[in-house]
């Protein structure tokens, strides 16, 4: 293999794929990135056996061929090469080495044969549709914070993506929950998404997709099988295994009869919660919301450090209510809301509360109260 590429293009592509490679690996080849040069393109591929990212970039291919070298080392080398330089990658008769040349720098990296590189056998992907990158990013951004890290309920370690009818309209819906809070966001169902299986996209894949979407404004094409998902974002293709489990029936826990409505000014509410929670303890970050006659009193009492209260003028006309929430969770949710105000629908101090921008908003959050 002998190929020459622009340093900037190579760096960008390596930036996309090298993150997938785990820093520590017991299987040596999983530390490597696969490089394949053919017909004017250099193809890159990295995998952790659950997730695979490939990308192709234009290259001056003198001789086709393929090899694999340590991904993070290659990334670091290319990163440190001077801006605007050309990089040549070459394997000669000795296939256990790859030569990197740029300007007056020369590197020789230990290589492993391409044939050992694992492939996530993607198989048939019967469902495909596409949606604007911005819409997919919104679905991810607004639900990602609620993904659980609990090992025992592994089926919560991702975003549940499925199509459903909402207010008579087919929608593509993303749901994530860790048991304490739940986020549900939807967008009009893209053409071709109807009939797709409900799938749980694992946390790591979600995070990678989110980063890839940062500088994308085009369409993202999505392909699905019951066990895998593939997203094509520009020249990058990400294929991930799905979490093999059943997502809980979240519809049952979304309250429908909460009749005590509270409307707050979002920014000042978040700032006040943040202020009073300064003195809460690490373990129980409970903040108490006392509601009566258009007034909300936020308070935190920490036996080890003291107490704090703050009052806010709010829109609340139902009977007085005291309820506690985890301050961190309240802040996470209010950070995701878009409008200037936030609508809380409450029932009682022991039941889940519903939080939205406004009535009928497409993003909806459910929060479990804490005992205070």
């Amino acid at each position: 293999m002998k190929v020459t590429v622009e340093r900037a293009a190579l760096l960008k592509s390596l930036g996309h794929v090298h993150r997938v490679v785990e820093r520590r690996n017991t299987i040596p080849i999983l530390s490597n990135v696969l490089l394949r040069a053919e017909s004017g393109m250099l193809h890159l591929k990295a995998t952790d056996l659950d997730l695979e990212v490939t990308e192709a970039l234009a290259a001056d291919v003198e001789m086709g061929g393929a090899t694999t070298v340590p991904a993070h080392v290659l990334y670091d080398i290319v990163r440190k090469l001077p801006d605007g330089s050309q990089v040549s990658l070459e394997t000669g008769g000795d296939t256990s080495q790859m030569l990197i040349r740029s300007g007056r720098s020369r590197f020789s990296l230990q290589a492993l044969p391409e044939s050992d590189f694992p492939d996530i056998a993607a198989g048939e992907m019967p469902h495909r549709f596409s949606l604007p990158a911005g819409e997919l990013k919104r679905l991810i951004d607004k639900t990602q914070f609620a993904i659980s890290t609990e090992e025992t309920r592994y089926y919560l370690n991702g975003i549940y993506l499925h199509t459903i009818e909402s207010n008579g309209m087919p929608v593509l819906r993303a749901v994530a929950t860790d048991g304490h809070r739940l986020a549900r966001v939807e967008t009009a169902a893209p053409e071709g998404s109807a009939g797709m299986p409900g799938v749980i996209v694992p946390r790591k894949a979600v995070a990678e997709v989110q980063k890839l979407l940062e500088d994308a404004d085009a369409q993202v094409s999505v392909e699905l099988s019951p066990s895998k998902i593939r997203l094509s974002i520009g020249s990058v293709v990400l294929t991930s295994k799905l979490i093999d489990g059943t997502f809980p029936d979240y519809q049952r826990v979304i309250p429908t009869g909460n009749d005590k409505h509270l409307v707050v000014e979002r920014a000042s509410f978040a700032a006040a919660v943040d202020r009073v929670s300064t003195i809460s303890s690490e373990r129980g970050r409970a903040v108490k919301l006392a509601l009566a006659d258009g007034r909300l009193t936020l308070s935190v009492t920490n036996p080890d450090s003291g107490s704090a209260t703050e009052e806010l003028e709010v829109d609340y006309e139902a009977e007085p209510l005291d309820i506690g929430f985890n301050a961190r969770y309240l802040l996470d949710i209010t950070a995701q809301l878009d409008g200037d105000t936030a609508l809380f629908k409450l029932a009682d101090p022991g039941s889940p509360t519903l939080i939205q921008d406004r009535e009928g908003a497409s993003a909806l959050y459910v929060l479990m109260p804490m005992r205070v």
């Binding site: 659980s148 890290t149 609990e150 090992e151 025992t152 309920r153 919560l156 929950t177 860790d178 048991g179 304490h180 809070r181 739940l182 809980p248 029936d249 979240y250 049952r252 826990v253 889940p352 459910v366 479990m368």
Partner: protein, 436 residues
Amino acid sequence: MAGASNIFCRDCLTLTAPVRPRCPACGSPRVLSHPERDRLSIAHVDCDAFYATIEKRDAPELRDKPVIVGGGKRGVVSTACYIARTYGVRSAMPMFKALQACPHAVVIKPDMEKYARVGREVRRMMLELTPLVEPLSIDEAFLDLTGTERLHKASPAITLARFAQRVEKELGITISVGLSVNKFLAKIASDLDKPRGFSIIGEAGVDSFLAGKPVSIIHGIGAATQERLARAGLRTIDDIRARDPGEIVALVGKDGLRLHRLAHGIDTRKVDPVRETKSISAETTFNHDIRDVETLTPILWRLTEKLSFRLKKAGFAGRSVTLKLKTADFRTRTRSRSGFPPTQLARRLFDIAAPMLASECDGTAFRLIGIGASDLCDAALADTGDLADTESVRLARMERAVDNLRERFGKAAVVRGIGFAADAMRPADKKDDSRR
């Protein structure tokens, strides 16, 4: 209070004159003399060869025979009587080794319920002496008798000697008593002239007593710590005393400070009647090694039910589950899971432990399996369900109903199907009671 009143006979409690080798009243040689006798009040009481002594009490024809209490031919020695010990039999020794050392020993399967009954009796009698009883296990405890002189109209030493007599007379077993200034020294003292011992280590004698003793006399120094100390040339208590506390800390970690203090006989721990329960577990040793997950899983289910029962009884819920396996070559493997909402339900504990078991079953032969719950919290916080779990509340109700049925009609009244296969694999011994 010098002179005659400081010396008394262990057997008839008569106060005696100094330097008399025998009690003038009953002729017993077991007279006890110590200048600080009436000032010491921290005691450690330990039953002598507890299980074996009970078995001998109940079968007098065994009195002059070596007796080993322990599991079948696969189990380990729980207790060896003092005759068996002269052949080199020790507790926790594999049974086949014990029988090599003492082939004519009488082996008795443990009857934990009987021992627990006797243990409870001993504890009840202890609580008549003082409310400050800190049980260490079924057969030993620390007692703080400070301020009980007027109540018992006697010094702690006399009260304890009376107690030893009473236990012997009413329960038919013997105990050893250690009396000293703190828990550390009391525990050492009780071990000094076992069985039927009564030893006193006074404040003045601490330094000379500990001088020259090996570091292993300090309770809680394991083989690894001993090794580490030995490599630095520290073999006796004196060696530790001679060093700076900082040096000991550098050698063995933060426990070094405590070690250094103990080497000087300093121990400020109080006798604490309510020791915090840190974990609850259940385990069993098999008659034959087991390799396959299909056989192990039903046994795990049975143990999980036992664990769940214990958690419910104690009012605790676990936030962490540990699976324990011992391989045929005595290597212990433990695997833990945490980060889930607290639970005390058998079904949920099992759902957490079963996948861990499945991934350990790689063809290895196992001799023991156990399951434990730790990071305990109040049962009120357990199984409340959450946004992703609408099952637990229902499951908790169901298990409560089953528990009620079992209480009324016996454990076999309701059995989950998965547990049936476990009947074929009765455990070898009942060494499964552990709460720490």
